[in-house]
Symmetry: C2
Subunit: 345 residues, 2 copies
């Protein structure tokens, strides 16, 4: 099975995307893989498999490799005398901006290249934590209560301390702070506003039960990973999460009741259906008073949450078989013709 992994991107999560890609090279060793790197200047490079190690990127050595350009249906490697086309299915593994905000999805849609990853709308609703809340309201999915603050306006927070402050549009805990009392608020807001003009404020729930589930739809059926109860510190800081992106060892199934398992799966399916088709996502849930609350949607989870699947290769193969087809539209210029006829031109 051929597959091209697209990684990097102009994103604060650029480096963890590199780590994810290296991890997947190992986990999908039975695939015929190509690697395309998007650098922070939005230039695409074809990366030699042998050079797929962190140093290639941190040292800038990748700049000596072939650049690629996009055309309908392909990435192109052009030389003076030839054009090699790369037309394989893309696995969009760019975390954060570019990959998860809809930019890469739109680019691949425009150039009619099939891909694993969230489509444009799905990206908008998962990348911006404000819109994830809107999605929950609209789909009747429970989530943690919240308030939105904007750097341009003064607004009082009515949620009781301790609270958690998150930039609206960043993942991997970047810019996130737990605020225990009002004296810590200004510093936490300044930190978050460095990354985004909008921040989401939520109550910080101590010792909350957390469960992660990944999955996708193939053959019109939701396929679930095992459910994991992630280990945690107070919350995962960036460096910790970073290491998390290189996870490849299988984890143990959470020890939960059949009833809770069903609730988590039902909520996952509600989030996924009619929105995330074509992608493998991980949903992170809280369970409070036996109620399942959606905490976060990761539409391109670190290392594709491979460690949650009993057979990750098979999962990717089955997802590939159910990817959305590019739409085709026919134009016959009948209106222009009829107007021209009416005008006698």
């Amino acid at each position: 099975m051929k597959l091209t992994i697209l990684f990097g991107g102009a994103s604060f999560e650029h480096e963890i995307s590199i780590v994810s890609a290296i991890t997947l090279m190992q986990k999908l060793s039975n695939f015929n893989l190509n690697f395309i790197f998007c650098d922070i200047d939005h230039q695409f490079y074809l990366i030699d498999k042998k050079e797929m190690k962190a140093k290639t990127f941190s040292s800038g050595a990748y700049k000596k490799m072939s650049t690629l350009s996009l055309s309908q249906g392909a990435f192109n490697q052009k030389t003076m005398f030839s054009n090699t086309q790369y037309k394989d299915i893309i696995l969009n593994l760019i975390h954060g901006a570019d990959g998860e905000d809809g930019t890469i999805a739109a680019l691949l849609d425009f150039y009619a290249i099939k891909y694993i990853g969230p489509r444009v709308s799905a990206s908008v609703f998962s990348y911006d934590k404000r819109y994830t809340k809107w999605l929950c309201d609209a789909k009747n999915i429970k989530c943690v209560e919240y308030e939105i603050l904007n750097s341009n306006e003064q607004k009082n927070i009515t949620i009781d301390y301790p609270i958690i402050i998150k930039p609206a549009r960043l993942g991997s805990s970047i810019g996130v702070s737990i605020v225990k009392n009002e004296s810590e608020l200004d510093y936490a807001l300044d930190t978050a506003y460095e990354y985004d003009d909008n921040v989401v404020v939520e109550p910080f729930i101590d010792n909350v039960k957390e469960y992660n589930v990944a999955g996708y739809i193939a053959d019109d059926e939701v396929k679930f990973s095992i459910i994991e109860e992630p280990q945690k510190e107070e919350f995962l800081d960036f460096e910790k999460k970073y290491m998390d992106f290189s996870r490849s060892e299988s984890v143990l199934k959470a020890d939960i009741s059949a009833e809770l398992e069903q609730k988590l799966k039902t909520t996952f399916a509600k989030v996924y259906r009619n929105m995330f088709e074509g992608s493998l996502i991980r949903c992170d849930f809280f369970v409070v008073n036996n109620e399942v609350l959606l905490n976060e949607i990761n539409p391109i989870p670190g290392s594709m949450a491979n460690y949650l699947f009993e057979n990750f290769s098979d999962a990717i193969i089955s997802l590939i078989s159910s990817l959305p087809e590019p739409k085709s539209i026919k134009i016959n210029y009948e209106y222009i013709h009829s107007i021209n006829n009416a005008k006698g031109k």
Copy 2:
């Protein structure tokens, strides 16, 4: 003032985009304009100003003109020996799919080309009528009550007849039907499902008062057009709307109370702020029992609603002065460096 008009697109509204572009050529005659056409195969062409007439496109004559490709900051016209770069600000005038669904926005964002038009999130919330409803709920904006139907599921409509059936993701009245009673329902649904798997059902409100307002933000202030009370038939069919896209004559200000004018403007500002920055949009409102309801957001209105502005050129110039700047992200590979150091590599 230089400006490049981007029009066409792989959209059911491809033809009205051509009409819009021709109209703007006349309305912005004091600008130094270029024209880039995106054909239904997503190939870009530089169109000679003299050839900016409907026949150039309906006859296929445009295919003999120069093709353009994208690179960072520019559209490129390449010949064997030269590369001419077009770096002017783009006015995204692609109506419907591509232009209004976030695809072109993402493409221009990715290639760091400044543009007039909705950004990716704004596109998602205005293009899909379901998400416009979610936006209304979240921003506390009143709209017509609705139900969502999906072609894959059987669901009873609880809204009383007459109702109006709209494909979720099409503009210009394509696929829209008014259904007076249940006997007409199946045909109307079949028509709508031809265009989209999701349809929005609303009560059809006879003789409703309609008002259109366009505007944009410049210097952090909302600038409004005049408010128009559009003439209407039962509803505008595609051919009628099509002609509408070539409108260039100024219209009369609606004869409404100062209070209603204020309500319409306040609602417009609520829709626009923190979402549509960088674009000139037209909002179509209903007024029922003295209440303002949002009917539709047109983030790239036909011929840019030029006819609603007393001085359209000045409006475009002032919008250009306030366009969002492309973001820049710096990566220092500090995490990869620190991990490599820890590993002793």
